[in-house]
């Protein structure tokens, strides 16, 4: 029984250490803020959970596993919350993720990525029209899809002018 517990906690601790190290490596090497946040937040929660459970198995019937469980519960609740708050704060204060959708455009209102395709003049209107067409066509059956988006695309610029 003892050796089984030892093996289980060894596996958990080694896996947790690996997760933690991968998180640190990702934070060091990832190209920009949001990808770094992704690496950090996932491995923070996962690695901490693995290591704490691995230690819990070694505690025996004392107060130690309870304390570890308290730490585990607290970290499990607060680590994603802190990551969310960090991303929210970064986005609100103007750090935009340099993402690119399927048409090669960047975030709305941003200049295009350097090696992406060139943006035309009325790209914003085209993009909204494209989006509605794509969204509707995916949901509606084929017969309706040809009629409805056309109406929507025609209505859209009129509303924009007013």
């Amino acid at each position: 029984m003892d050796i089984l517990l030892d093996i289980a906690s060894t596996v958990l601790l080694v896996t947790g250490g690996f997760f933690v190290f991968v998180g640190g490596f990702g934070v060091m090497r990832m190209p920009e803020l949001y990808t770094r946040m992704h690496a950090a937040s996932l491995t923070d929660t996962g690695g901490a959970a693995l290591i704490l459970v691995g230690l819990m198995l070694q505690g025996g019937f004392t107060l130690v596993p309870l304390k570890l469980a308290a730490i585990f519960l607290f970290l499990f609740l607060t680590s994603p919350t802190a990551s969310y708050a960090l991303a929210n704060a970064a986005l609100l204060s103007g750090v935009k993720p340099p993402c690119r959708n399927e048409t090669g455009k960047t975030f709305p209102g941003e200049p295009p990525v350097a090696d992406g395709p060139k943006q035309s003049k009325s790209s914003a209107e085209k993009r909204t029209a494209n989006k509605t067409v794509a969204g509707k066509a995916a949901r509606k059956p084929a017969g309706k899809a040809t009629r409805k988006p056309a109406k929507k695309a025609a209505r859209k610029p009129a509303r924009k002018k007013s």
Binding site: D6, G17, G24, R36, I51, L55, L75, T78, A82, A89
Partner: protein, 98 residues
């Protein structure tokens, strides 16, 4: 078992060093906050593992207290920088409108 604890300690320490490097290098302020948050979480784990390595379970109370302090501290710093960023964006918009 000691060797496993020791290896986990080394992994956590290396990660802490990487987090510190990111905190020093980090181009935006949020990279630094991210690094500090990560450092705090890793400190909690490190204290927990050290308490098993040295056979002193009292250290777990310290780890719990550190987790609480870390969370509150990161939130306080984030609130401060978030309001600053929003204020600056509003000022820039107003200046552009003039």
């Amino acid at each position: 078992m000691e060797w496993v604890y020791f290896g986990t300690c080394i992994a956590i320490l290396v990660t802490m060093v990487l987090a510190v490097v990111r905190g020093v290098v980090g181009p935006t302020i949020f990279d630094r906050v991210l690094a500090v948050n990560m450092f705090g979480t890793k400190t909690v784990l490190f204290i927990a593992v050290i308490s098993f390595l040295s056979g002193r379970p009292d250290f777990l109370d310290l780890a719990l207290a550190y987790a609480l302090i870390n969370f509150i501290g990161v939130f306080a710093v984030l609130l401060f920088f978030q309001s600053r960023g929003v204020r600056r964006a509003a000022e820039a918009e107003r200046d552009a409108g003039k």
